[in-house]
Symmetry: none
Subunit: 226 residues, 2 copies
């Protein structure tokens, strides 16, 4: 993870702010706080957080109003909005979600639940960041952390470059990778190797696995298809 994920929490109850902040900071987030709706908008503009947790009942501007403001501003297109309230009524739920909220958590808040849910939202948002480095596709499994490839449970030993090439392609099944992309991803930008090199490695992968999981797209590149 490069930059820490920024979260802004807006609630008028100081002790809630404090508790949530504590847990979020402990979970590795960068946390900012606001004590009312106006301050929330202000700080949202200042810090451009990745996620904003809004209490609905707040002075100056309600969570709904802040949510509406944020969603009308393209700058916050990718910002997650979590609404927070003591009210457990359906109407608020629906209103919040329809105003563009991404999730809805009812008080009393369990810090564990809050963090689980926020993590789930981010997991969905940044599939690539997912720490799961195992690709499973039908009966083929490619485990980056173990450099291990199994097919129908049987282990196949691929050389480093073969493995990296297969992993790259399989990470985005169906997508065509240009030869140039493959070279820069697997071999790096400064290394200069010929085009034939890719072919030979592709061939070795096909031969070792014995299945036709890599498709040639003539004049374009290769793609994983299985």
């Amino acid at each position: 993870m490069e930059a820490p994920i920024k979260i802004l929490i807006a609630d008028d109850e100081a002790d809630i702010l404090e508790i949530i902040s504590f847990h979020l900071i402990k979970a590795g987030f960068e946390v900012h706080t606001a004590k009312d709706g106006s301050e929330a908008i202000e700080k949202a503009n200042t810090y451009a957080p990745d996620c904003i947790i809004l209490d609905i009942m707040m002075p100056k501007r309600t969570g709904f109003e802040v949510c509406e403001y944020l969603r009308s501003n393209s700058q916050f297109d990718k910002t997650l909005i979590v609404l927070l309230t003591a009210l457990n009524d359906e109407a608020s739920h629906i209103k919040g979600l329809e105003l563009g909220g991404d999730d809805f958590i009812t008080k009393p808040i369990s810090p564990k639940v809050l963090i689980s849910r926020i993590s789930a939202l981010f997991r969905r948002l940044q599939p690539s960041v997912g720490q799961n480095k195992v690709i499973n596709c039908n009966d083929l499994s490619i485990d980056l952390t173990q450099y291990k490839t199994t097919l129908k449970g049987v282990n196949y030993i691929l050389a480093k470059k073969e493995f990296e090439l297969l992993y790259l392609l399989a990470a985005q099944p169906g997508r065509v990778f240009l030869r140039g992309e493959i070279l820069s991803q697997v071999w790096g930008n400064d290394v200069i190797v010929g085009d034939r090199t890719i072919d030979v490695h592709i061939r070795k992968i096909r031969a070792k696995l014995g299945i036709d999981c890599i498709t040639t797209v003539k004049g374009v590149g290769y793609k994983f298809d299985y």
Copy 2:
């Protein structure tokens, strides 16, 4: 939205299945159902739904087990998983979210809430999918990132130039492209090829796809019309 969003619901209570199905269908989703965990996995593989709603308490396999299975398979990377339970306890919440669930809804279910939340999940998911350079027109789909052309779900392999030509035309259906435009877009400005070359490629596309999706505008050029 071209294709309808597919949702799979798994619950062992028939009346719940029915009620939810009814509302989801009314909301414009394509709905499939399963009455236990094993059937859920089966149908997930068959229909590749965009969203799977899982009851936690189910015979054969619990919602947790199904969730775990789905999340370990890259085929379902982009599938939303919503967990459903009568239990309102925090432990299930956390377990579900940590297993990769995207949302968690407690029974008794309000159809309105359910649909609001699913819509919210999809709204959030769309932007990343929106990057796709896929042209969809009736039952014809042209995917630039995959260099893949399908008609009624059947894959047709076009050569590079054929594909690029079709993609160019289909990107702006109805618009007539002059021969000069086609040449400079597909072949580039420095390459010099004759006019007949375009005709030949157009013909190959028509022959391969078997449909008349490209119209000749005599004396002017060609246009995509389908």
